[in-house]
């Protein structure tokens, strides 16, 4: 299945648009619907798989779509679940995160095929995400201490995301659809 075969450029543009849209839905669905229960961590140990899906989207489809999927997918989650005031922060933090992962994983024509770079990309994105959230929360709380509380949770989420993204991307990369 080579999707480029004989398809016009308008078709490819349309396809890009739709893929981005579906990645947004996927990130949203994984955030809302998919949880793993860890023996540790905040919120009763429930960690959602949204971050993992964000990583996968960035690694499979590069920085632009990764950024869109992350910022809009998770932004939408905030909007629809009572965390509305977090949405602007999420849009920036997750957008940057998706962009960084994609940019590094897709640097120099790697197209997400190098596990090392994928890993490196995810690692680099984590502090960025944590810092953006920290800054945003300090504004809405008007305080520098309270937002520290969300850092451990963010780290756990990202760690789980990485643990998930690596094997899933490995398998996906081997399917003929994504060659």
């Amino acid at each position: 299945m080579q999707k480029t075969l004989d398809y016009s450029s308008s078709r490819n543009k349309t396809f890009d648009l739709i893929i981005s849209a579906l990645l947004i839905s996927l990130v949203f669905v994984s955030t809302v619907f998919l949880n793993i229960k860890l023996p540790i961590g905040g919120q009763g140990g429930l960690v959602h798989l949204g971050t993992g899906m964000l990583f996968i989207a960035s690694i499979m489809f590069g920085p632009k779509k990764g950024a869109l999927a992350g910022s809009l997918g998770m932004g939408l989650f905030d909007l629809m679940s009572g965390w509305t005031i977090w949405a602007p922060g999420t849009i920036i933090a997750r957008g940057l995160q998706g962009y960084i992962v994609g940019k590094i994983a897709w640097s120099k024509g790697r197209n997400g095929n190098s596990i090392g770079f994928n890993l490196f990309g995810m690692m680099v994105s984590i502090p960025v995400m944590v810092v953006v959230y920290y800054l945003y929360e300090s504004i809405i709380f008007g305080n520098w201490i309270i937002p520290l509380g969300s850092i451990p949770g963010n780290l756990v989420q990202n760690a789980v995301g990485m643990v998930i993204a690596i094997p899933v991307c490995l398998v996906l990369k081997k399917t003929p659809l994504f060659k």
């Binding site: 308008s10 349309t14 579906l22 809302v32 996968i56 309270i146």
Partner: protein, 265 residues
């Protein structure tokens, strides 16, 4: 689960707030977030609070939904309050327990910041409770239209968002089905030792991803044969209507801002 998420937020209705144009609501809420930071004394905070309560009343949203939406945040709110009490050491001492001293300024700060936080959460919630996601998207699209000049693909972003919204229920169903199918094959995300649960992620996410990709191909074909080739020359079926309510709403907002500026220290 699915129903809860999708419709738990937007509650259809006919109130004044519901009937506002999404553009005016968006402008209003966005400006409100900025203006909130003007408040710095009792009068101004009281003004904000009163105003927020007025909007809540006018939206005719049952308090139940607002409070319910607040649940995850309540702990943070309490926490914020106490942090301010503990760490601010100015003004008179109101309470002295030896190891803990509560200062007047601390209490004030605690209350102010909590009110600010509460007002922000309520106001943004009202937006999402009274406006469907698709209307929000429409509103944002039209508001961002001027940015087309700097090559921001506003139309594409809006269409993308609307397709994403339309596919959320479909993909939720799909997730549920794949999850069940893999559970029936002995791989379970929700039970068993941690290692097993993490291992169950691959059989779930891979088919989900593949299926989304195939849907994208089908949808691209369908859109293409229905004549879609980018935003140029397209007309709009969804029309937004700006009427007196919206103008009134912005006028009130300007007055409120003026009062805030007037009464702040």
């Amino acid at each position: 689960m699915m129903e809860k998420m999708i419709f738990g937020r937007y509650i259809p209705g006919e109130s004044f707030v519901h009937r506002l144009d999404p553009r005016s609501k968006l402008i209003f809420v966005f400006a409100f977030i900025l203006v909130v930071f003007l408040a710095n004394n009792i009068v101004t905070y009281a003004l904000l609070l009163a105003f927020t309560l007025l909007v809540i009343l006018m939206s005719r949203i049952r308090l139940y939904f607002l409070i319910n939406g607040l649940k995850p945040i309540i702990i943070l709110l309490v926490f914020t309050f106490f942090i301010h009490i503990l760490f601010t050491r100015e003004g008179d001492i109101l309470l002295d327990l030896g190891f803990l001293k509560v200062y007047e300024e601390g209490l004030r700060q605690g209350i102010f910041i909590s009110v600010r936080f509460l007002v922000l959460v309520f106001m943004t919630s009202i937006l999402t409770l009274t406006t469907s996601p698709i209307s929000i998207t429409d509103g944002i699209e039209v508001l961002l239209n001027p940015l087309k000049k700097i090559k921001l693909p506003v139309h594409e972003l809006a269409l993308m968002m609307s397709i994403a919204l339309r596919f959320i229920p479909t993909l939720m169903d799909e997730t549920d089905k794949i999850m069940k199918a893999q559970m029936a094959r002995g791989s379970d995300l929700s039970a068993g030792p941690l290692k097993e649960r993490i291992k169950a992620v691959v059989p779930l996410l891979v088919p989900l991803f593949v299926s989304a990709f195939k849907r994208a191909e089908d949808l691209a074909t369908a859109m293409e044969v229905r004549g879609y080739r980018g935003g140029e020359g397209r007309t709009r079926y969804r029309q937004l209507k700006w009427d007196w309510r919206d103008t009134l709403c912005l006028v009130v907002f300007v007055i409120m801002t003026a009062l805030l500026v007037f009464y702040r220290n």
